[in-house]
């Protein structure tokens, strides 16, 4: 029955968008992408078996004032589970946090906590966030393995979005320049593209770098690659992906 009301709710937004925003706790809309938050690690599959959060890392929304990684959302409780051994990113004493948004709510402020200590607050001016939002936070008083709770407090609802980021603070001193968007590391991330299988013309598989002209077998049929890409689920040869794979 619940889903039946999805459409009227969306329609109701025509007249009462604000009501929809406050009345829909599962609605999206932002998380820390770098250094990777726990939900980002789930969505990138760096941490496996996270459940529904891997499909909606932007949805960790709860009332303002919480100090939990899951925003009080029971289906995302895994984010509070420290026994999952979340990988900690090694960083300097100054860390640039970058956010991804799926909806750009007016922002009261951003807060960063280590334990119960608020280590930074950035005013949002009750404006919609810029294209990319990055904040540089001084963590020099908190060396070692830490979990930083990053909070996006919404300006026009009672809610906030929560991201926990596991860090190993204090590797080296960080630059003191104002926060730019982070640049890619100079070395390619090891997990981004596993090497193609030895038999590159074998059976289609995900996470494989296919080049134009290569052929694969999928469900008993042969296909030729017509656009170089790294394969992923949903991009297997089909009538929907003729732009990538043509039957031979």
């Amino acid at each position: 029955m619940r889903k039946v009301f999805v459409y009227p709710l969306v329609i109701a937004g025509t007249a009462a968008a604000g009501l929809v925003a406050t009345g829909s706790p599962a609605s999206a809309h932002g998380y820390v992408s770098a250094p990777p938050s726990r939900q980002a690690l789930c969505a990138s599959r760096a941490v496996a078996d996270c459940g529904q959060i891997q499909f909606e890392p932007q949805s960790v929304e709860g009332p303002k004032g919480l100090r939990s990684c899951d925003g009080g959302v029971s289906q995302f409780a895994i984010l509070n589970d420290n026994s999952r051994a979340w990988p900690a990113r090694t960083v300097g004493s100054s860390v640039t946090f970058t956010w991804v948004f799926t909806a750009r709510h007016r922002t009261s402020n951003w807060e960063y906590f280590v334990g119960n200590t608020r280590v930074a607050v950035v005013d949002g001016g009750n404006q919609q966030p810029d294209a990319v939002v990055s904040h540089q936070v001084d963590l020099s008083r908190f060396p070692g393995r830490r979990t930083v709770l990053a909070i996006w407090n919404i300006g026009d609802t009672a809610n906030a979005f929560y991201s926990c980021v596991d860090l190993n603070v204090g590797g080296s001193s960080a630059p003191s320049t104002p926060a730019p968007p982070p640049v890619r590391p100079t070395t390619p991330p090891p997990s981004s593209a596993p090497p193609p299988p030895a038999n590159a013309s074998g059976t289609w598989a995900t996470n494989t770098a296919y080049k134009i002209g290569e052929e694969v077998t999928f469900q008993g049929k042969r296909y030729r690659c017509r656009q170089s890409h790294t394969s992923l689920s949903g991009w297997e040869p089909s009538i929907f992906t003729l732009a990538l794979w043509l039957p031979v």
Binding site: Y7, V10, A34, Q58
Partner: protein
């Protein structure tokens, strides 16, 4: 109950101005290959949920194409260039397919911009003209990081949009929605690995 709500939704959709002019996607990058001639057909049976999902997805793909179109002209890593080109090609193909289905059903192929905003639950959507302009004006040094962050949010949002198809009845639309959900979630995974290092 359900039938009445869909009828009401359809009526309101029309009232909300579904037939606004489509925003033309940017021209395909030079190295894109021509799409296949034959588009997959859809069954005639459909409902308002199928129509709304396809209309919203066409618009959403169009915004994504504006992002990938900008990446085609900028200096990015080979991995990002290939990912952007493949997303561009596949989303362009999806738009053609979805437009052909809606056309076959005699339904409008565009949703109003208002609808997109409201589907984001009151917030502005992840990708609008301001964000696309900001990306266009981003320096070369910051382009890749900005592009990946914007496209990640955009594809996160696409996964959400596929929920609209849950109450659809057209089997091909349901199949496409499932593939969109999977492919966008996997693209997000690839991009988050690139962003986070």
């Amino acid at each position: 109950m359900r039938r009445i709500l869909f009828a009401a939704a359809a009526a309101l959709l029309l009232a909300a101005g579904c037939s606004t002019e489509p925003s033309a996607p940017p021209a395909p990058p030079a190295d894109a290959v021509p799409a296949a001639d034959a588009l997959p057909a859809a069954d005639a049976e459909h409902n308002a949920a199928d129509v709304m999902f396809l209309q919203m997805m066409i618009m959403h793909n169009g915004q994504g194409l504006e992002l990938t179109g900008l990446a085609a002209d900028r200096t990015v890593s080979e991995e990002v260039r290939l990912l952007a080109a493949a997303i561009d090609t596949t989303q362009r193909e999806e738009v053609k397919i979805m437009q052909s289905w809606l056309g076959g059903w005699k339904e409008p192929t565009t949703a109003s911009k208002d609808m997109t905003t409201h589907a984001s639950h009151g917030g502005l959507p992840a990708t609008g003209p301001e964000q696309i302009e900001a990306l266009r004006n981003t320096s070369d040094a910051n382009f890749e990081a900005t592009f990946l962050n914007l496209l990640t949010g955009h594809q996160n949002s696409a996964v959400e949009l596929t929920n609209l198809a849950t109450d659809g009845v057209n089997p091909q639309t349901g199949d496409l929605a499932e593939r969109i959900k999977e492919s966008r979630a996997d693209q997000v995974a690839q991009m988050l690995r690139l962003i986070g290092g």
